[in-house]
């Protein structure tokens, strides 16, 4: 407020600030100014009363009950999918996220762990595997699925899980820990994929590009 402001100027300023006087966010000199004008001006008092009623009516709670769990699960699936995507990882890296070195270290650790697990598998399989960044080799018939195990799942648990669904690893895990799998003959792929998606030991499930998988 300045000494040259007329009574009309002060009233106009107070009227302008009234909405934030009503919601309680006005502070200091501005709050004092409006308080004084409300006492001095009938126009300000009338407008204050109207805005208070508007405030009361708009404070109502009209939110519908929402399926929070379902929506949150959907969001987390999206986040996991984005984090498992190499394009997304590159984009994140470009933004310079501070946790990227830790994430990369964890990824390398996961790959090493998965490679160790790979070495403990039974009969060897032909090296017809693919990576996330290379197209599927021509002889990759039967490849239908890629998964990423959740952190902390041991090699024994991984083997047990794959065996229970009749899944066979087609090659060693990719650099980011993603494992490419083949279904057993006559497997109900939709049922298996649904089961994997609901399994907390699996972080990410998808079909390789170009496959006719689920």
């Amino acid at each position: 407020m300045t000494s040259t402001e007329t009574a009309n100027d002060l009233e106009r300023r107070a009227l302008e600030l009234l909405p934030w006087y009503v919601n309680g966010t006005l502070e200091g000199d501005e709050r004092e100014l409006v308080g004084r004008q409300v006492l001095a001006s009938l126009t300000c008092r009338k407008e204050l009363e109207r805005l208070r009623r508007l405030h009361q009516l708009m404070q109502r709670d009209d939110a519908e009950a929402v399926a929070t769990d379902r929506e949150f699960d959907r969001l987390m699936s999206r986040i996991r999918a984005s984090e498992a995507s190499p394009q997304s990882a590159a984009a994140v890296g470009r933004r310079g996220f501070p946790w990227m070195p830790y994430a990369l270290a964890a990824s390398v650790a996961a790959s090493v762990s998965a490679l160790l697990w790979w070495g403990t598998l039974g009969p060897s399989v032909p090296h017809t595997y693919e990576t996330l960044t290379n197209p599927a080799p021509a002889d990759a018939a039967g490849v239908r699925l890629r998964i990423l195990f959740a952190a902390g799942v041991t090699g024994a648990e991984q083997r047990e899980l794959l065996d229970s669904h009749g899944l066979t690893a087609v090659g060693p895990p990719a650099e980011d820990g993603v494992v490419t799998l083949a279904f057993s003959k006559d497997a109900d792929r939709a049922v298996i994929v649904a089961a994997l998606k609901g399994d907390p030991r699996i972080q990410f499930v998808t079909s390789p590009p170009g496959s006719d998988g689920p």
């Binding site: 919601n23 508007l54 009516l57 519908e64 929070t68």
Partner: protein, 197 residues
Amino acid sequence: MKPTSGSRVDSLVSDSDAEAALVARVVARDHDAFAELYCLYRRRLARFLGRFLGSPQVIDEVINDVMFVVWQDASRFELRSKVSTWIFGIAWHKALKALDRQKRDVPPLPSPTEIARPDDGASALEIREWLGRGLDGLSPEQRLVVELTFFAGCSYQEIAQIAHCPVNTVKTRMFHARHRLRDILVSLDAVAREKTP
């Protein structure tokens, strides 16, 4: 961790420090912290976005988009603003995009002055619906200022941050919104007085 109905969900004015601490944990990729933040904002965002976007499916989609950005960009959050200001800013940006997509399908809204005042015997619900129709006649930018002021309890400085505009623009938008709502506000004075103890 699954989101649950927390006691703080209904609070419009949240604990800024606690929320900032949650965001710091989200930066460290703490899923539990993210679930807690989601719980805190899910309902508030639904209420806020519901004022602009009619379809519950669209609202769900936009909330999903908003919280996805929160997860991805948590490290960009600066403590110069409140967490709520940051998240509502993202929500407003996403809501504008959704509104653009909806534009072609939405019939022109009536001017607030064309909306008849409810009868003297109107219920509180009818009065709120009447007010809602009046607010529907505001431009999205004007309505944002009105909603953030009277619904979310934001200061005009916070609104300027959310809307990415100068504080004087916020005041101007509020001025024009009040001008457009003038007839409703005058009637509200009489109608609401009958209904408010």
